[in-house]
Symmetry: C2
Subunit: 373 residues, 2 copies
């Protein structure tokens, strides 16, 4: 069997405005200063395991996605990384599917799986978000391999992140009995909890964060989908059967149910005992807002997006997070400041306001600055 990666790349990430924009969402951005966008890092992280990688993105972002993948392919064809001295992993076959309209994650993943199944009906596919950070790649690879093993036994397997705090911003996975060492049954997927419930989850040791990673045989994935959502499965299959015929794609896609993979198959299948979870601690972050971005850069002033470290001078400003684009930034006497310079704007806020940044784009529209959204 061979393993194929699917990367649904959507979502604007407005809590990271202006690094993440409706027109240039965070998966296209180098948030970590790695030299690669989050999408590129996701592709590279999967490269050692995946025979092919299919990115499913909105039509508006197809060009940018293709350009970033072409960049990776160019790097992989080169000799050595200038930074690490190591040869870049071979990124394998890179495919892009452009969704005519957003339909949430289930149609995107199912279509990619169905297209992969045409070439390889025995394939195992794994779906991974385009805009998450994973610091411990070895742990990630180990978890994916364990999930592939569970998938080969017929499970839809997920990777559950061992919580390091009682976060209320994620759904949780309630584990059941061990299936094989390192793999457990899933009792249930549970929604984002309130704070006391999250405390209880974490204290019990039985709950993991749901990071939206799913691994399954294409036959299992599409079979389960056909069972729970037959119309959606049939539409996806019709598109895949006439793959390359854009007219069929547009017509059938427009009829597909908008639904997330969690609701469509993971939750009902877990009730039937068909979902396995690989618990893993791997320095995962969804980098959902400036607080988590700050935590990810280790509490230091972080610089990226074209800046270099000496472009920030912080004076009496502990806990500041600064991204520069072209101008040096000096911050003095402001605690926990967040300062973001992009090509077309300068944004100043603080970590206490991190959750409210999502409202900034609407405020800009009200202020007549829709151009900055």
């Amino acid at each position: 069997m061979s393993f194929h990666a699917i990367i649904p790349a959507g979502g604007a990430g407005t809590r990271l405005w202006p690094l993440s924009r409706a027109s240039y969402p965070k998966f296209l951005v180098d948030l970590t200063g790695s030299g690669h966008s989050m999408l590129q890092d996701t592709v590279l992280r999967l490269a050692p395991l995946a025979a092919s990688t299919t990115v499913v993105t909105g039509a508006a972002h197809e060009g940018a996605v293709r350009a970033q993948l072409a960049e990776l392919a160019g790097e992989a064809g080169g000799t050595q990384s200038a930074v690490s001295g190591e040869r870049e992993a071979d990124v394998g076959e890179l495919d892009v599917i452009a969704e005519p309209t957003p339909r949430n994650s289930m149609p995107a993943i199912a279509l990619a799986a169905a297209v992969i199944a045409r070439r390889d009906p025995e394939a195992v596919v794994g779906s991974f978000a385009a805009d998450h950070v994973i610091e411990d790649e070895a742990a990630f690879h180990g978890a994916v391999r364990a999930a592939i093993g569970a998938a080969e036994r017929g499970y839809v397997a997920t990777i559950g992140i061992t919580p390091d705090s009682p976060a209320t911003g994620f759904g949780y996975i309630h584990e059941g009995e061990e299936i094989v060492p390192g793999v457990r049954a899933v009792r249930a997927f549970v929604e984002k909890p309130d704070a006391p419930t999250a405390e209880r989850y974490v204290a019990s040791g039985e709950y993991r964060w749901n990071a939206g990673m799913f691994v399954a045989k294409v036959s299992v994935l599409l079979g389960v989908l056909a069972k729970y959502h037959p119309a959606l499965a049939a539409g996806v299959q019709a598109i895949a059967d006439s793959w390359g015929d854009h007219e069929v794609f547009l017509r059938e896609w427009a009829r597909l149910e908008k639904i997330a993979i969690d609701h469509a198959i993971a939750e009902p299948l877990a009730d039937e005992g068909g979902v396995a979870v690989v618990p893993a601690a791997m320095g995962w972050s969804d980098v959902g807002d400036y607080s988590s971005l700050y935590a990810m850069v280790d509490g230091h002033v972080g610089v990226s997006a074209g800046g270099v470290p000496q472009d920030v001078v912080a004076i009496d400003s502990p806990g500041s997070l600064v991204f520069t684009h072209s101008k040096p930034v000096v911050v003095a006497g402001v605690k926990r400041a967040i300062i973001i310079e992009t090509q077309d704007t300068i944004f100043v806020t603080c970590r206490e306001y991190a959750q409210s940044v999502k409202d900034v784009p609407d405020a800009l529209e009200r202020a007549g600055r829709n151009d900055l959204r």
Copy 2:
């Protein structure tokens, strides 16, 4: 008699870094969004009264000063102001004296006075800082006219600003008996007081802020200088006598005592009853730091230096002060923020830190960013 203005233009104003730089001090900057630099505003403010205006500045700034004065002369030669519809005042004769090295205010003012005296021995001169703001020009003109009247009676006249707070950042002028309506004798110039003393000064109603404005006949000014500082007076006279001979200028200037006009003549002459003060309230500010700049722009987000008002969007950020240069600034959830974008840097601080901004240039040097001083 005719009145001639002298504008000593020096001082870096580091508490307004990076709007005010060692290489481009605040008198060259449009801090108020008037469309003119503070120096240009000072020249324009004096234009209705002054037959000529002499700017005395450091050699390093001579070029920038000449360019700004040429701009004013060009405007005055034009027809109508596009903004106000009013004809710009005729700015009269504009002269520049470039100091080979800084010698504080007394040598600068005395030399300008001595050069003016060559043309007009009966002239009255008035010296005014290049980097102060005066909102009520009519009140200013009235005060200068009263000071000229006192000067014609033989006084060295100053204009004392009616305090609107017990500020500890200014020297004070202690008034004595009335000489003529609107003009009083000066008992003493007193140094910057501590807070309780300042409270007492303001409560007494007998004290005014010393804004460094002095008006006198050239003959009186130079005569008093010759009495208290004969070597300095002789050196200045030697330069004026051979005005145009740069060798003499360099040689004599290098020997001149470094001293401020307050210490050199105003304080000792006040003890002898030779100084008069015109008390005036005219919306004066020395714009010494970001707190006073904030107060001057009426507590609103202020924009200048090439920016336009809609280039700032403030969300949940009361009391912010923002200057843009080329990029729109969005500030969210930060109270009393100060955000300054210049051509080559972005500075973020808050009003609580306003007094400490003066230390930023040195911190930059320690951080290896001497280029940003």
